[in-house]
Symmetry: C3
Subunit: 259 residues, 3 copies
């Protein structure tokens, strides 16, 4: 999971480095189209999918605006998985769900690539993170990589807020289809509804009732439903809610108990 | 093969699910850039390539505008391959070439993912299609997945038409290079030519004779040739025919016997 | 490494062909977004990364404006790696660094795909290059593929030039982040500096001193540093130098000894 895009050799070379260390690694791209240096977007994408991977999977997350600075490279065990990333908060949402059992700094140079003479220090993805992920995938113990990190950096989470009248949240992901996925989870909606029904508002506009699936709304209609990750989603059946409503990341969404 | 794009975690999470079930699966992306919910485009792309894969390959095709509706998830054996897809016609072109020996509904829940509590029903790619493909790749028998489907949905094919004077067809794919690939096959051209030569017209404009390869036309010239899939293709040597001619999917192309 | 993009089945079908010949091949995408038919761009991208792959890796490079013409398909051993490509100069930068120990024409049809009847000759990536790469990955000896090539085609390299006052070069790659990577290497800068300091100019505009990492420049500031491949790079900390300066491939960059 990176913000490297796919036009350059950056992702491919990291895979080359990994296969040199761990030849039988199975490599999966989550996405490389995180907006450049957008740590919060990467954190949301990772949180949406990590738990569907096989236990023991190593996640290599390189969205690293601080490359070359004093920010620490870290590795962590959490929820039965291993994560390798810069210590910039990109693992916040994972750690919220699955408190890490161990976090270490990637301090041991023997698990880093020896840069060729003359190469610069701008690509820790290749030189430090990918090799560490490969050694971890080979079974090297986390504790061998460096000293423990007591308090990894966390992003200030954008939490939904609930009161008696409703639940308020924001759009945290806009996907390829223009679906607007929020940070309001199903449990909060069910607590609010209490067996009754709810109505949804996006940026002050009424979206209407919740449907179960896109196909339950008329074609072209804006609807609200529970997303594949269990969060409130605003969508258009057969179209783009982002385009239809002119909304995006950060847009306010509210759920109200129907009177 | 999906319309999921690559900006979200959707393709990656399907691969994570597959590797959890079938750890030694070799995963190949055909493309994920099918225009959103364009079943016909996906059908054309699949038809262009499936027969080059190793016998026994499992094709996972998720272009699924009806997700969550009553449309059936199916799996099929055809031409020595296995296909997993929604029953919406996306396998039409494959079935035209290689009549399926067996088609079943994916009815057995034991081959589906148990959704985490709270997750919605909008992502059958992750929850139903990917697990089924993985179990099939592991060697599970098709018949175990559910009851037989007698008549899978088929798209109305856009066929070429031939008369004594010529063959008429349409552009069915426009590729990255701007090549315009039609549904007119080489056999139809050869029948028409009968040893003589033919001339090609695209949207009423004369393209000229057939050449064997791009390099046989002058640089920058529009030409017609037989594509890598055996169909009439309109191209520009070193450029984009789509841009040069202002044509695209659905544009009319005609081949005439030269007088 | 191709210019095929990812919207079509072209890359996927090459992988299908490879896995049919060499089922346990580990497949890595370097990039498929080389600008269409831009051999020099592909050469630069390959040169930037090949040496980080495991020894023995087979590089399949298909940027092939001459497909179907008399240009030769070749395979080469160089630097402990194997390369498969059209003989159009795309391996120039590799051969400059690692003179090839053997180059052959891919002449033997038994290592090519038997095209289905009717298929055209426009896709040597699928029909000739991918099968050859797969047979080589399986361990087939290079000499078995065809006769030796004495003088593979080379591109005229765009070299930096140095005089007593400075080193002049050009931008050879612009990456996703808008970083401008030049052909001026660190050794040339160090020879020029001779223990003193240098200043950098891009398209006549002063960029200032070299920094070690992006993070060493103020946020939003244009800076110059040594790239991950060991070349002078002009960047903006947290932004795009290409956008900020309006520069791109071919733009002139000069390093001067500070007075």
């Amino acid at each position: 999971l990176t913000d490297f895009g796919t036009q350059d050799h950056y992702v491919g070379v990291m895979k080359g480095v990994i296969l040199g260390i761990c030849p039988d690694a199975a490599l999966v791209d989550i996405t490389h189209e995180v907006p450049p240096q957008d740590v919060a977007a990467a954190a949301a994408e990772l949180a949406a999918c990590y738990r569907y991977f096989p236990t023991g999977a190593v996640f290599l997350v390189v969205v690293d605006p601080g490359v070359g600075s004093a920010r620490r490279p870290i590795a962590a065990e959490a929820g039965g998985f291993v994560f390798v990333a810069p210590d910039n908060g990109v693992l916040t949402a994972v750690f919220d769900e699955a408190p890490p059992s161990r976090v270490v700094t990637l301090a041991e140079d023997r698990f880093a690539l020896r840069r060729p003479p003359g190469a610069g220090v701008t690509f820790d993805g290749r030189d430090r993170f990918a090799p560490a992920a490969a050694w971890l995938a080979r079974g090297e113990a986390l504790a061998a990589f460096g000293p423990a990190v007591a308090a990894p950096v966390r992003l200030e989470p954008v939490r939904m807020s609930a009161d008696a009248a409703g639940v308020s949240g924001v759009v945290v992901r806009v996907d390829r289809f223009g679906n607007l996925i929020t940070n309001i989870d199903r449990a909060a909606i069910e607590r609010l509804a209490g067996g009754g029904s709810v109505e949804v508002e996006a940026d002050g506009r009424a979206i209407g009732d919740l449907v179960r699936a896109y196909a339950d709304a008329p074609a072209g209609a804006v609807c609200a439903l529970v997303s594949s990750t269990g969060h409130l989603e605003v969508a258009v059946h057969g179209g783009s809610a982002a385009a239809a409503l002119g909304l995006g990341r950060g847009s306010a969404v509210r759920v109200r108990r129907r009177a």
